[in-house]
Amino acid sequence: MLLGLLIFGGIELSQGIAVRQALDSGVGASARALSLDPSQWSFAASLVQQTVDQNVMGASSPVTLRIYDSGGTLRSSAWLSGSNFGTSFTLEASAPFDADIPFLANAPITIRVRHWGIVERYP
């Protein structure tokens, strides 16, 4: 029983780590892309989703992308698109993850990753 817990728990933990790693990598790249061209929201969302879909453990999750201003207020993609040079923002991506481990109750969690960015598009 203990061996089963360790093996399946390890596999599920690895999947969670892989999703988080992919999310981190994708959000970092997307934040940089949005810094250079804030109007590319759909490209950024697609980039993060594709990075998560192609993670090494193959566990795919739907990704939600959110943008916050420097004060931590939730904003829209339109706000970012119209932001001036030097505007700071935080890009957050979240993905649900449900570890399925035998003998243990399922405890769905949400993996969240945030990256900071600054608009560097010249007017």
Partner: protein, 166 residues
Amino acid sequence: MTSERSAQTAVWGLLAMMVFIAVASGLVDVYRLYAARNWAYSVAQEAALAGTSKGRDWASISSSEEMRLVGTTAKAEAEKLVAAEMAARGITGYTMDVRVLPDPTGGSISGYPPRPVRLGSSRGSWSSDEPAVGVYLEVPVNWFLLNRLGIVPKDVHVFAAAGVAD
């Protein structure tokens, strides 16, 4: 005879359980180290970008048509971002060393970062051919198992730099 075998099985079972727990704890520690290193790298990169972006000397463009950095502003902005990220994670006891090369042609700082990091051919001696900000961080890592074994080091050391290209 049967009771001797049962006792042996119990001992082996206990030993196996301890080994499994030790292996699982060790793996958790390796992941914590890996995750902490990745996170610290992203903080250093973002801080260097913040310093470079917000520290631009626009007056220099007007007067000499060359991009420079305002050293104090660039350093303060980078440090502000690092402090905010550390506070958001509740990390204390970290070390930060931010340096700025404000001149249009960059420059070099020997002995920085204080520990050799991967920087191509200039290990431990930072140089740039454009105005740039370098951020070096030492972040403590809380071990799960290795703390109990007294294994050091317990910090991750990272360095990132960002420059302004003409």
